[in-house]
Symmetry: C2
Subunit: 126 residues, 2 copies
DNA sequence: CAGCATCCGACACGATACTG
DNA sequence: CAGTATCGTGTCGGATGCTG
């Protein structure tokens, strides 16, 4: 999306009426954010390696970066266990769980979109 | 957000369980999409020049491109009047109006996020 | 196992100038 | 007025290799 996260998230610098909307958008923007949410939404903590497996084709760098952003945004917690081999588990915070209604809205919109597209019988064409 | 719209929107090529979610995300992804929605959500058609004014700092190229994408996605209609000077008006389709609940979810999430950030008293720090 | 460093490409977006 | 054409830029994310 090419959002400028840092500007968008700072409601002091960006104090318009829709700051909330924009902050929320910034929070979920990132190619993998909602897939990560999906992997965590059952509530149980999930390990880094398992996340990587569920989001196939994500690189470790990107996964770590997205997780760090989400942690910074307060969506999830990172718990590190000082073991050998190391283990790190991620789980949703309360705020993170508030993504659920958004997720459902997105699902609804997506369905409406898909239905309409099928109805129109207009292939994407690109 | 750097989504690959074309892949993401094509549910035949991308037939996983969350195709709807991803399609929806692709639809609203783009730095300006939701601001355009906001400008149109009252229902009345809006002219290109007015849109440009409301979304200050958007370039004409980008505005035209985002509008074209949204039209292609079936979110809005473009009506051209053969006048001098030319006039083009944009308004939401039925599908476009289905963005409303999503908008509200985003607002809620954004509010929760902002409240929590204030509560933590942790400046964004970046 | 988890994840950082580095290099690199793709693409979204911006600035500016030009048309019907 | 409502765009296109062209060029330039930054940011996101991928590939690979290295550490504790």
């Amino acid at each position: 999306m090419s959002y400028n996260r840092h500007e968008t998230l700072d409601c002091k610098r960006n104090p318009n009426k829709d700051c909330g909307v924009e902050a929320a958008l910034a929070i979920i923007s990132g190619k993998w954010k909602l897939k990560i949410f999906k992997a965590l939404r059952q509530g149980a903590p999930v390990r880094f390696s398992l996340l990587k497996k569920e989001l196939n084709d994500i690189s470790e760098k990107t996964l770590a970066a997205q997780l760090r952003e989400m942690e910074h945004d307060g969506l999830l917690t990172r718990v590190m266990y000082a073991e050998v081999p190391p283990r790190v588990e991620y789980s949703l915070t309360e705020l993170g769980q508030k993504l659920e209604p958004l997720f459902l809205s997105l699902e609804n919109l997506g369905l409406a979109y898909i239905l309409q597209k099928m109805h129109n019988d207009t292939p994407v064409g690109i």
